[in-house]
Each structure stands twice: as structure tokens, then as C-alpha cells.
């Protein structure tokens, strides 16, 4: 086992500054503040150790691990590959469908299982609905970070409609265990397609309402433009992905650039931040990328609903899954970015090793970089714009 590494030493408090006022010397000190894990705007149990000079942040060091549940070790100890899917659900609990899918896809690729066309469509519909639901949580809580409480409830009202759709499909509202290896657990129920279409027509005007209320609000723009700027090169160097990366103006979306499933059949566009109200890669850009991705997801869902074929929802897979010895890395685009599973099989009925590459974990690592020099009030907005889910950061 690796020894735990010593804490980074680059945050040693700076020597006290000496200011002079009316001939007297005044000593000013930097202050170390602990933010979290019970702080309302750290989106879970993130703990930030922040060093401040007045209201200005000198450094912010994230401390994680409060929600560590040994996902990888548990997965190795399961007697069956399928049993791990409910665990994968619990990683990013705001976007469970996308987690399930990434996990199932890894095993399918390893086993070279072809899934029926209908399954691919169902998965796309579910993943995109989940993407909207997840972005709604991100955008709504972002409103709270900025001090606006109302957009949050509007977002949750709309998310409820999506959860109702999920509930009628698989009975669960948060952790679905719906996408299985080789297919999905149930076919779409009667009336699902109509209700999903209804949702799409209902939801499109709501995006505009949300934008009017929050996105283009003058105070909100003032708070988020030019704040937490993540330059393109830094984003790439830190391996950021998802809206974090696209907010910095990088055209990169795995649904298009490393295609899986049937995304290539639909018309949609990758959204990037353009610095409309501030600098490219600021908090507002990441916010607007999420808003526009919801619009694109609605577009994808509408097309998928219109052209979903009939057929089986489970392909013929062996009762006991035993992949050939070997390894594979499969990545998908979740609402937060690139979720990849690196799987090593030794030919037995369970994993030899599985490693999850979580987008929120990787995106969080860039936080100190973009929060230096900001104010405390900005820090909550920067953390919010990273859109972390601690379940996935800590796993």
C-alpha cells in the first residue's frame, strides 16, 4: 500500500505584512479559515481550507474524503459484475443514469456485446433527461450560491417532472439501477413517450424563464463575469472536462468526439463559452454552457422520441459474465464531464481491478488555481460553477 502523502507545503502562511498608518506600523495577518464540511455552499461535504488576506483569497486547498465509500474496493469484492451497478449509481447521485451507462458500457465493450437498437435509444433518452435534471440541480444551487433562492425552486419544479418520468420507468427517483449490462431493466412503460414529449414542450419555455430570472440578471452577471477565469490551456493541463472545459472555449464533447451509442444519428451542437459578458472561461460562461446544453438535450430527446424503434430491451448475454483476461478504458460524457472506467479482468466472474475516472474529482483539482486572488464571496460562486458532486469526488 502507498503511504499517504504529506500535505502540500505551498500554503505556508506568508510573513506578516507591515502597513503604515500615520507614522505607526500596523501589523496585518493572514487568516486561515475552515470552510466546510458543514458549510451550506460547498455542495456536500467538501472542506476547503482557505487562507485569506481580508476578503481576498490567498489560497484555497480542498480536502476531500468525507464521503469515501470504497467504490473501487467494493467492486472488486462483488461476486458478479452486475452487482456493481447499484454502486455505480451512488457515485454521482445527481446523475445516476449516466453512471450506470458508463459502467455497463465498459463491460459490454469488454464482452463485445451488441445491444439492440431500441436499447440505445432508451439509453440516450434517459441519459439526456438525466443530463437536464443534473444541470437543473447545478444551475439552481448556483442561484443559491449567488444569493437568489427562487431560481432554485423553479429548477426543482422542472426536475420533478423528469423524476416522475424515471419513476414510471423503473420505480426509483434518484438511484435507478436501470441500465444493465446488455440492455435495460424494463422496457419503457405505456404512455412514457407521450409524457416525455409533453415534458419537452413544457420545458423549452422554462429555460427562457430561468434565463430572464437569473442568467441575464444584471447583478448575477456582475457577480460571475470575469470571476474564476479558467484559461483554455490551464483547463487542458488539468484534464478538466464537461462544461468546465467547454466553458473555457474548448470544443470537446465525448458524445461527438469519441462517439458511443447512437448520438451520431441526431442533430445537435457542442456548446462552448464565448465570453459574451466577460472573459472566456469565467463562471458565467460555465453557467451558460449548462443552460445551452439543456436546450441541446431537449433537442436530442425530441429526435430520439420521434424515431425510437421497436424491439427487445435485453440482448442475449451469458448468465454469468466472464470477460476474457485483459483491460479496457471506456469513457462517456456525463453532465459533469468525462466519466471513464478502467477495468481489468483476470477471466474470473468479478473484477480484478476497476478504476473510476470521475469528472468532478478532476475538475475540483483546478479549484485552487482559479480561486487565488478572488474574494470569499467569489469562492462560493467558483465552487458552484465547478459543479461537484461529492459522492463522485470521494467515491
Amino acid at each position: 500500500m502507498d503511504q499517504p502523502k504529506a500535505l502540500p507545503t505551498n500554503y505556508v502562511t506568508q510573513p506578516d505584512k507591515i502597513a503604515t498608518s500615520k507614522g505607526k506600523t500596523v501589523r496585518t495577518e493572514e487568516m486561515i479559515i475552515n470552510m466546510g464540511p458543514q458549510h451550506p455552499s460547498t455542495h456536500g461535504v467538501l472542506r476547503l481550507e482557505i487562507i485569506v488576506d481580508g476578503e481576498i483569497i490567498v489560497d484555497a486547498i480542498p480536502h476531500i474524503g468525507y464521503l469515501h465509500r470504497c467504490f473501487e474496493k467494493h467492486a472488486e469484492h462483488m461476486t458478479n459484475y452486475q452487482q456493481v451497478i447499484p454502486y455505480a449509481d451512488r457515485m454521482d447521485y445527481v446523475a445516476s443514469m449516466n453512471n450506470d451507462w458508463a459502467f455497463a458500457l465498459a463491460i459490454e465493450r469488454m464482452m463485445k456485446i451488441e445491444v439492440p437498437e431500441r436499447v440505445e435509444y432508451i439509453r440516450v433518452i434517459m441519459a439526456e433527461l438525466q443530463r437536464i435534471a443534473s444541470h437543473l440541480v447545478a444551475l439552481g444551487t448556483y442561484g443559491i450560491d449567488a444569493g437568489a433562492f427562487t431560481p432554485f425552486l423553479y429548477c426543482f419544479r422542472d426536475r420533478e417532472e423528469i423524476l416522475d418520468l424515471f419513476e414510471m420507468t423503473c420505480g426509483a427517483r434518484l438511484l435507478y439501477n436501470y441500465i444493465w449490462v446488455g440492455g435495460v431493466s424494463h422496457d419503457l412503460p405505456q404512455g412514457f413517450i407521450e409524457q416525455a414529449k409533453e415534458f419537452c414542450t413544457y420545458f423549452k419555455p422554462k429555460i427562457k424563464e430561468f434565463n430572464d430570472l437569473l442568467t441575464y440578471n444584471e447583478i448575477f452577471i456582475k457577480r460571475t463575469a470575469h470571476v474564476g477565469v479558467l484559461p483554455r490551456d490551464v483547463a487542458i493541463n488539468y484534464a478538466c472536462s464537461g462544461p468546465m472545459l467547454r466553458g473555457s472555449g474548448v470544443h470537446w464533447d465525448l458524445r461527438r468526439d469519441d462517439p458511443y451509442s447512437v448520438y451520431h444519428k441526431f442533430e445537435w451542437e457542442v456548446q462552448t463559452g464565448k465570453g459574451e459578458v466577460g472573459t472566456v472561461g469565467d463562471c458565467w460562461d460555465r453557467h451558460i454552457v449548462r443552460v445551452r446544453e439543456m436546450e441541446q438535450s431537449v433537442k436530442i430527446i425530441e429526435q430520439a422520441l420521434a424515431s425510437i424503434p421497436e424491439g427487445n430491451v435485453q440482448s442475449a448475454i451469458p448468465k454469468r459474465i466472464r470477460p476474457e483476461p485483459g483491460d479496457i478504458y471506456v469513457r462517456t460524457e456525463t453532465p459533469r464531464g468525462e466519466l471513464g472506467f478502467y477495468v481489468i479482468s483476470d477471466g474470473s466472474g468479478s473484477f480484478y481491478r476497476v478504476k473510476a475516472r470521475g469528472p468532478a474529482f478532476v475538475n475540483l483539482s483546478v479549484l485552487p488555481e482559479i480561486s487565488r486572488g478572488a474574494m470569499i464571496a467569489d469562492l462560493t460562486l467558483i465552487v458552484g460553477s465547478v459543479d461537484i458532486v461529492l459522492g463522485e469526488v470521494d467515491r
Binding site: 476578503e55 444569493g147 433562492f149 457577480r223
Partner: protein, 348 residues
């Protein structure tokens, strides 16, 4: 004292104490109503229902809330400065309550008809800053100190636009006594200072844009004075975890809350008295009389309180530097312009 003469009671210690306590009764009743109003208004803005189970549409909920707060343990953090910590909520409330003394609720009732009424209110409400600083400092919590210092900086900066806006109303009406200011505006909606007061028509038309602007700025500054969104930085939940009152519980916490609500009405009352005709009826002589006066005054005040609630549940929060920018570089210069223009027009 005027009230005593009005209803023909003798002046003795008991009646004086009782009459002076009237604003307190008002504050308590008003706080109950506003607690309920805030929850219901916010709920309807946010597409939900709020309390529905405690009584008809939850009207008993404020009582339940107060009962809960009364029962709670009064905790004092181990490292806190006990004396200051316990004193702070009362200082905050005292500052607000003192302000009510000079508010003319009706033509028949004003706590103390002093000549420097507005001046007294500004001075008394400055006590609130001391109370908040005291609470934040005594809590011995870094977040609380942040909140308290922000609060002090904010309230001190916003007193300048407030004072300048009040100055403009005083220039037009020629008095610092709120009772006299209100009497000056009586005779209908056209005589309100916000619409130029009872000046000759040409002067009125010239002065109108400036008085409207002044009223608008005074209202913004008042929201900042009472620490409500978009200026609620001292208790910014997402940043400071409630700021200066983080460590308080039970009735001490409730005192902060009560003071905040009372302060909301106080600043509205000042704005109403100076700009919206105070207790005078908008229809001239019709619907006026001591009780109607009280009705008009409370109705106008509650309308402004409602607007404050409405703003709170709509807008995000400003940042500290943006807050200071707004005060010093936007509101204050505009008010200097207004002071100059109004002075010029009055001399003409």
C-alpha cells in the same frame, strides 16, 4: 403626550409608560404579520404553498415559531465574551425601537414630537451597527466577525446616501420634525414630496424628476441599511453561514430577527413620512381622521415592506466591493446632483 390630550387622559407615570409602549405592541404585532407575509409571499413567488396546516392557511405558524424559539436552549459558545454576547441582541433591538419614538403613526400619535425627529432616527439606528459588531466580535467565530465587519462597513456607507436623501426632503418641506413634514404633504397625493410637494406648478414640474430619483435611491439605501437582499452580505447564508448571528440561538436569535423586521418597517416609515405623505390620506380631506391616518400610514409602510420582500426573493446578492461601489460611486454622486438641483429650484 398629544395622544393623552386627545383622548382626555391625565398625564401620570402609568399612562405615559403605557402610551410609550404602544410602538412595542405595534412592532410585535407587525412582526407576526410580516413573518407570515414573508413566508407566504416568498412561497407564492416560488410556486409553492408554504404553511398550510397550522390553522387556516397556516396563520398560526408565526406563533408556533415564536413558541419554538422561546423553548430553545440559550447557548453561549465556550470561547465567547459572555457579557457582550448576551448584550448584543438587545442593543440591536434597542437601536431600532428607539427610532420608532419619532415616527408619526397618526395625526394623533407620535411617541415624541421632537424637532429633530429624522435626525434622531438616523442617530438611533446607528446603534444597530454597534450591536451587530458586538455580536460578531463576541461570538469569537471567524465567520461572524466577517459578517459583523461587513455589516458595519455597509451600514456606515449607506447612511450617507440615506442622510442625503432625507436632506432633500427636509429642504423641500423645511422641517426635521416628521409630524410637520407630514402635515406639509397633506391635502392629497399631488402634495407628496415624491411628486414635488406643494410647490407652485412650474417649480413642481422642474423638481419632479429629482424627487422621484431621490425617493428611489432612498429606498435602495434603506434596503442596504436593513441588510436585506440584494444587500444581505452580513448574513449571506451561502458565504458566511448567517454571518454575525451564526452562534445565536433561541430568544437571542429571535431578537436579531425581530430587530431586522422592525428595522424594515422603520426605514419604510421614514420613507413614507418624508416622501409618500406619511399618515395623510391620498384623497385629500376624504378618509382622514386619527384612525384613518393610522390606517394610511401602516398601509403605505406595509406596501414598502412588501416591496422589500418581493425584491429579496427575486434578486441575487451583490459582492462586497460592488456594494461599496454602488454606494459611493453611484448613489452618492447622484444624490449630490439632486441636492444641488433641488436647492437651485427652490431658490428660483
Amino acid at each position: 403626550m398629544e395622544l393623552l390630550q386627545h383622548i382626555g387622559l391625565e398625564q401620570n407615570l402609568l399612562t405615559i409608560v403605557l402610551v410609550s409602549a404602544l410602538p412595542l405592541v405595534f412592532i410585535l404585532l407587525y412582526a407576526l404579520v410580516t413573518l407570515y407575509l414573508e413566508m407566504k409571499v416568498s412561497a407564492h413567488i416560488q410556486d409553492r404553498l408554504a404553511y398550510m396546516r397550522t390553522g387556516w392557511h397556516g396563520v398560526l405558524q408565526p406563533f408556533a415559531d415564536i413558541l419554538k424559539l422561546l423553548q430553545k436552549e440559550d447557548t453561549v459558545p465556550a470561547a465567547a465574551d459572555r457579557f457582550l454576547f448576551k448584550l448584543a441582541p438587545f442593543v440591536v433591538f434597542a437601536g431600532t425601537y428607539a427610532g420608532f419614538a419619532a415616527i408619526p403613526f397618526s395625526s394623533a400619535y407620535i411617541g415624541s414630537n421632537i424637532n429633530l425627529g429624522v435626525f434622531f432616527i438616523i442617530a438611533a439606528s446607528s446603534l444597530v451597527v454597534i450591536g451587530i459588531l458586538m455580536g460578531g466580535w463576541a461570538s469569537n467565530n471567524k465567520w461572524s466577525i466577517f459578517g459583523a465587519i461587513r455589516s458595519a462597513a455597509q451600514m456606515v456607507s449607506y447612511e450617507i446616501p440615506t442622510a442625503l436623501a432625507i436632506l432633500i426632503a427636509v429642504m423641500i418641506t423645511g422641517s426635521l420634525n416628521l409630524q410637520e413634514v407630514t402635515q406639509y404633504q397633506s391635502g392629497g397625493i399631488q402634495n407628496w414630496v415624491v411628486f414635488g410637494g406643494s410647490l407652485p406648478l412650474t417649480q413642481k414640474l422642474l423638481i419632479l424628476p429629482f424627487t422621484l430619483l431621490t425617493f428611489f435611491i432612498l429606498f435602495i439605501a434603506s434596503i442596504a441599511e436593513v441588510n436585506r437582499t440584494p444587500f444581505d452580505l452580513p448574513e449571506a447564508e451561502s458565504e458566511l453561514v448567517q454571518g454575525f448571528n451564526t452562534e445565536y440561538s433561541g430568544m437571542r436569535f429571535a431578537m436579531f430577527y425581530l430587530a431586522e423586521y422592525a428595522n424594515m418597517f422603520l426605514v419604510s416609515a421614514v420613507a413614507v413620512s418624508l416622501f409618500l405623505g406619511g399618515w395623510s390620506s391620498p384623497f385629500g380631506e376624504a378618509l382622514s381622521g386619527p384612525l384613518w391616518d393610522l390606517f394610511w400610514f401602516v398601509a403605505k409602510g406595509m406596501f414598502l415592506v412588501f416591496v422589500q420582500i418581493w425584491i429579496r426573493w427575486t434578486l441575487p446578492r451583490l459582492r462586497v466591493d460592488q456594494l461599496m461601489y454602488t454606494s459611493w460611486k453611484v448613489l452618492t454622486p447622484f444624490l449630490f446632483l439632486c441636492v444641488f438641483a433641488v436647492g437651485l429650484i427652490l431658490v428660483l
